[in-house]
């Protein structure tokens, strides 16, 4: 009886893990040996999420066979939340960690985006220069740094302390391992069924056209958006926010060569002052002025106009519109399922949706990703008064020739803004017991053939200089993603900066606030009011951030 109960308990413990993380069987190959830990194994703890894990099994298996280094793969979808505690306990400020602590410390961590710069500063992760400078003999002796796309190549490069950064004493610490494209994913048949300009698969190129599409969907009694606001799910709208913001503000060019508040998106990430000094102290607004950029107000206003009914003068009567019923309490997965069940025509998400809805969609379900519509002059003029824009702030989106739409500069092609959300990371803890093998593993994972096989299995690009669409075996959806991703005229947003405040105080778009919290208030506060709140929050905390960044 005891044995029976023990067996039952073991099955009930292991089964949910196996179901959640995959049992290690892929295409008829048995990778079960990778999921059982033996002494001497290289311990890799990874986030599966929407990326799937199928790509990792064959690579780890081949690595074992080629190098003789055995690997233990542990799926942990909570790794992003848990890893700070794991790292902290394995890297005490004094003394050495116990053997048990070290046994629980992964040799390789694969997480979602997190504030990894803090780990560098606290000495919790190892410098992996050897991974970046390793020469791939079969690929013409290129290094990982050579193979990564612009922006991704220096994404994981920083000084351990602010002084190190100033002295140029920088190292590589993390490898970005995915480059998922985010934006609006749509139901192809639904849009075509509207007829008119949408009949042949045309998708909105501008925000004004997006509103046209929504009107047409409403007329046809089709719910435009499936989205979920629960547990940070609202953050999916932040992907759209980023693209709209960059479309209006410019990524690294600005309208009239403005700076700070009137500067580009990169001015924001560099926290430049009115004179253009990074983390600057000069000018009316010091370095936090860019929190008040008009592009941020416009981007938030677009989202508000898309999903909030603000007709009433009384804000208490504002309500969500153009959305599935009761969206706020839905999780992102529930929203994705509703999209797959054809309860809505579009959903804000990323290329990982392919894996999320694989089991919920019918066989004939056709879906694709559209390029995020550009912010056009007509829309800006319509909302300018409400947002309190200055005359020099009334212009349209960025064109491909790096100029902006104005009343006289018209008729050009808008730049396509791709928010690629580079940020899923691989890194090695400093006290990892098998650091040398971990370095070999990271070098191996980034071999050309492994990058390509991962792309096919995940359906998500990796941030490398290659043409993912040229690989065979992609679904129609993945092809649509890569068509947007590979547009040579696209501007790819990567959140990186040389700023110490960005690196050491780890401050991003929403100051001290959580992005989901801000976006969830769109049915209660104006877009202008919310951005101004963030601006005040930034100005209040500015000195604190500078202290954290070692600038005082």
């Amino acid at each position: 009886m005891k044995k029976f109960i023990a067996g039952l308990l073991a099955v009930s413990t292991v089964l949910p893990c196996a179901v959640a993380c995959g049992g290690g069987n892929n295409g008829g190959n048995d990778y079960g040996h990778l999921l059982t830990r033996e002494d001497g194994d290289l311990y890799v703890r990874y986030f599966k999420g929407g990326n799937g894990a199928e790509w990792l099994y064959p690579i780890a298996d081949a690595f074992e066979k080629e190098t003789g280094i055995t690997v233990y793969l542990e799926c942990d979808d909570e790794i992003t939340e848990n890893i700070p505690t794991v790292l902290e306990s394995a890297h005490p400020t004094s003394g050495t960690p116990s053997a048990n602590r070290l046994k629980q410390l992964p040799d390789v961590c694969m997480t979602q985006t997190l504030k990894w710069q803090e780990f560098v500063n606290k000495g919790w992760i190892a410098n992996i220069d050897e991974v970046y400078t390793y020469k791939y003999a079969n690929e013409g002796n290129v290094t990982l740094a050579d193979k990564l796309i612009d922006g991704a190549d220096t994404f994981g490069y920083m000084g351990q302390t602010p002084d190190d950064a100033l002295e140029g004493n920088k190292h590589y610490w993390v490898v970005p391992w995915t480059s998922p494209l985010t934006g609006l994913v749509y139901n192809v048949k639904m849009l075509k069924s509207l007829g008119g300009k949408w009949a042949n698969g045309y998708v909105p190129a501008t925000v004004t056209e997006l509103f046209e599409l929504i009107d047409d969907l409403n007329e046809a009694n089709i719910t435009p958006f499936a989205w979920g606001g629960d547990s940070n799910g609202m953050g999916y709208w932040n992907f759209m926010f980023m693209s709209f913001w960059a479309s209006y503000q410019g990524y690294n060019v600005s309208y009239n060569n403005g700076k700070a508040k009137y500067g580009s998106m990169m001015d924001f990430y560099n926290f430049v002052d009115d004179d253009g000094n990074m983390d600057g102290n000069n000018g009316e607004n010091e370095g936090f002025g860019s929190f008040d950029q008009a592009g941020r107000k416009i981007a938030l206003k677009v989202i508000q106009d898309l999903i909030v009914d603000t007709q009433s003068a009384n804000k208490k009567d504002w309500k969500w519109k153009n959305s599935i019923d009761y969206p706020v309490s839905k999780k992102a997965q529930e929203a994705a399922d509703k999209f797959a069940f054809e309860e809505a025509a579009m959903t804000p998400t990323g290329s990982w949706i392919k894996n999320e809805i694989a089991e919920s969609m019918d066989e004939g379900f056709e879906y694709a990703m559209m390029p995020t519509p550009a912010v056009d002059m007509a829309y800006v003029q319509r909302v300018a008064t409400e947002l309190g824009l200055q005359p020099q702030e009334i212009h349209g989106g960025l064109f491909t020739d790096n100029t902006f739409e104005t009343e006289t500069n018209t008729g050009k092609t808008y730049a396509q803004i791709n928010n690629t959300e580079i940020g899923d990371l691989m890194f090695i803890p400093k006290n990892a017991t098998k650091k040398a093998n971990a370095i070999k593993f990271l070098q191996y994972v980034n071999k050309k053939e492994n990058v390509e096989s991962a792309t096919i299995d995940m359906g998500i690009a990796r941030p490398f200089r290659y043409t993912p669409s040229a690989l065979q075996g992609h679904s129609d959806f993945t092809k649509s993603v890569f068509a947007v991703y590979e547009n040579p005229n696209a501007v790819n947003l990567i959140r990186k900066s040389e700023s110490s405040i960005f690196a050491y105080a780890t401050i991003k778009e929403w100051a001290e606030r959580n992005e989901s919290d801000v976006l969830l208030q769109l049915d209660q506060k104006t877009a202008k009011g919310l951005i101004e709140e963030i601006y005040v929050n930034a100005s209040d905390n500015w000195n604190n951030w500078k202290t954290k960044a070692g600038l005082f």
Binding site: G123, D325, S329
Partner: protein, 322 residues
Amino acid sequence: MKQTVEGTVETTVPTQKSYNRAKRNDTIFVWCMLALPILHFLIFWLYINSSTIFMTFFRYNPSVQKYQWYGLNNFIELFRDMFLGGDPRTFNSMLNSLIIFPVNNFIILPLSFVAAYFLSKKLPLSNFFRVLFFMPSMIAITVLALCYRSMFNTDHGPVFMLCNAIMGGKAPDFLDVTGPYAMPIAFTFSVWSGLGYNVVLLNGAIARIPEEILESARLDGITTTREMFNIVLPLSWGTMSTLFILNSLSIFGWFLPPMLVLSDTGGVEGKTSTIALYVYQLVNAGKGEDAAALGLMFSIIGIPFVFGVKWLMDKITPTIEF
């Protein structure tokens, strides 16, 4: 004493040496028994609390990669956030933590008492109801929260669908963390999941009441209501008082219901957060100093309150022995 072969009894007087040995053995035994609790106290209370308090006066400086003296600034910043509108999240977290006090003591406890009293009356199916009341305490809280949450799901939740039918299709989204129903839903979950524990303890207390007292009251023609409030309540007041104090202490650690039923983010501006949940999130975000300062500051506010409650309960608890 020892029995001799001849059957006579020879008395042995304990020597000073054997007395000392026995005393030493006693001392060793006592210290062995005390060692574990003392060690536990030193490590898990003294060391942890003192290092937490110590941490509140420091702040991590990335320039030197060390914690540096920060004086009372952590507390000043926290005070500004909590009471001067600096961060509504901190204030809302405190408010929600304090609200659990009346929920625990003025809703859950009276309900538990009434339930325990009727279960003690050996009514038909009382054993079944006893199990039913205790069931939420036996199921893992994550599973319980999942079941509870699904009752309010806007697609298939039976409670939501019932409300929707009653309200003509206009039922609110009870799980909307920005709406007015979110925290009441979390408190209701606390009531549901918290009844069993209290009922079991109170049932024990009621079962200890001598049957003769109740029988004599019944011979005097006492009604059920008077029996419950005039006989059973005073005689089980000691347990009620203990539960009241324990429930009051929960304001410091209450965070699972809002986290599991609503959202682990604490909602917009902390509307569904509590102090314990906020501390947990601060620790996860690598802001250990802020977490320590918040915990300590809330303790400074809460401990006198809990002591006040204890003093009050001691005052009003009659000394009854039976």
